[in-house]
Subunit: 207 residues, 4 copies
């Protein structure tokens, strides 16, 4: 098995001559499949069916399954980074910051989707170095977004706490109370120093 010329796993978009939307549609379909059936179910055929394109179209646009997966994860990280950034756009006070984080761990369908994809990425990255850079990029961007409001170390801690809480929330049968979530998150958010809140203003152009 020669890996059949997949570039560096995330690059190399290849054809794109016309109908450029099709490539994106396939990637989004791949993420849908990933959410619903897991890595095990991520096959050319399932993706093609989901994207409503012929089977050949998937193999045509992507050099192999591994590349399709890598690019799908890349798209996920890209989209998710933007979403995560925007999440804090209206945050002005510490209370608002905490409130957004509490929302974060509550499993709306959209949240659920991205959480599942994130965990799939994490697990896949454990065994595929090519995906590892994506996972790290995602973690870094998350922590950078948090670091607009708390210190770097606190951001890392907070990120870990949120990740664990989200995982627990995913599996919880009954809806978790916001109060419990807030009680967990609030202490992990630093009190604002004399320099106000948020800590750092300005540049948060991720990537």
């Amino acid at each position: 098995m020669t890996h059949s010329g997949a570039r560096d796993r995330t690059g190399g978009r290849r054809p794109r001559r016309h109908d450029p939307g099709r490539r994106i549609r396939i990637l989004d379909a791949a993420l849908d499949v990933l959410v619903e059936r897991g890595m095990t179910g991520m096959t050319h055929r399932h993706v093609a069916a989901r994207a409503d394109v012929p089977l050949g179209s998937v193999t045509y646009h992507f050099a192999g399954l591994a590349e399709l997966q890598a690019q799908a994860f890349a798209r996920f990280v890209e989209l998710q980074t933007a979403v995560f950034e925007r999440l804090f756009d209206d945050v002005g006070t510490r209370e608002e910051f905490v409130e957004v984080l509490v929302d974060l761990v509550h499993a709306s369908p959209a949240r659920q989707r991205s959480a599942v994809l994130g965990f799939e990425l994490h697990l896949a990255a454990l065994r595929d170095p090519g995906l590892r850079v994506l996972a790290e990029a995602w973690t870094r961007s998350s922590q950078e977004a948090l670091a607009r409001f708390v210190g770097a170390e606190a951001a890392a801690r907070l990120d870990a706490l949120l990740e664990g809480m989200i995982m627990h929330a995913l599996l919880a049968t009954g809806p978790r109370s916001r109060e419990a979530a807030r009680a967990a998150i609030d202490p992990a958010v630093e009190r604002p120093g004399p320099d106000g809140f948020p800590r750092t203003q300005g540049e948060h152009h991720v990537r």
Copy 2:
């Protein structure tokens, strides 16, 4: 063509000796495979090869792949619960408790293994209600172990934090510093009340 149009299957030739304990060995092999190749690689063949038994032996002992997976996860939860319990056997002070938790998030190979299995279980449970009860049992037993030293709510928070940190540690390329880990964990462990530490003494026989 033989004497009849009947199914011409000829039976096996060399049945191996009676081998009690084979079931368990298959389950352990299944967990090994799960760690190394993920859910995607968890096939009858890989498991059989890992356990060094014929393919038919795996299908003989387990009614289907789903049952093999479920029982493998069940064995993981059972083993891990005991391990987790024992982790705190020698803990007498708050400092020792924190130290054990810091160890926990540092990725020794054994830790890494159980962490990966735990995350795989979490993800699999999302799509399989039958596994959900196992995942919940695992979470509950973890939190109960922690709750010997901190309150129930704190235990839940601590568990989430640890889970997130372990996942981050799994993916981190360089080794994390113990100090950073301690700085994250320590504040999440309640100060002992007037009733000393640990909170609850005595019986922690997990069943």
Copy 3:
């Protein structure tokens, strides 16, 4: 494949030491399975499940699947011959004879069962000479039973007609009218000669 010592396909009952009923129960279960799932479904396991005996019990009492099938068919022929004989026990007149035959082609559940088994035997016998003697025995006994009332040639014709009608009746969706059946059968039954009806009296001890 050496046929593993099956006697002459129909003989050789083998153990019968105690619980002699079990062997019969297995054969009857085999016929049940044959009716419901066809030759394709006639497996040791299905038969064992149907007879409610352990799998090993089936392989123990029968030297191989072919022998089980052969003996099951033998039992069918034996039972069916007796049933067919008895069918005409109360027949005294030509009209009664025709009426019994009309009943015969009407698919009561019991009829349906034996018809299916008969056709399965026919088809299986095409490819297995060992079964062919059974099929011939069955045909012969049927025609002999009929020949108590009509001539030998007429019996053969009548038998063929009945067989074809039964097959058609099996597949017919709606219930066939008795009149149509009688209209087909009646002309195929000879008018009684001056020697009365039935033609031959006495010995019909089928063995």
Copy 4:
């Protein structure tokens, strides 16, 4: 282990040329297998071997074994209907008609083949409603062909008689005498009415 934990299937190497007509060849091979090995032997692998195509080719062209069987039976009915029609093309008199029918029950190899297929279809249809319509179509077309020469009720009777005789002929060890067959068939064919023979003239374009 390669670059990833992904499914490590390597694709095929030497796709053969585009081969229209392969579908049909597979269906014909399936019928051959059905004749020789019965329903029990009708497997993807046997059919593939018979058609001299790779296993994957059979599963590619047919969504499942059931569909392969259904389409094979459909092809049989289609072909056989045409053959049966043509059988009577040169029939002008009642005697010729009877003679053709007598031929019919005599087991030439080609006859044998279609007879076996027909009986297999009958039996399979008993357990598969999807095949039932095919069996009915076949029966109907047979009777319609006969009904060109005799009345509808007589056609049904004649069809049943022929079917039974063919089955008996299939199993008979020695060749049956034509006279016996004629003696059975002739009385079942109506005497031509005043309108001559055949009853209906002209167009017998089946479908």
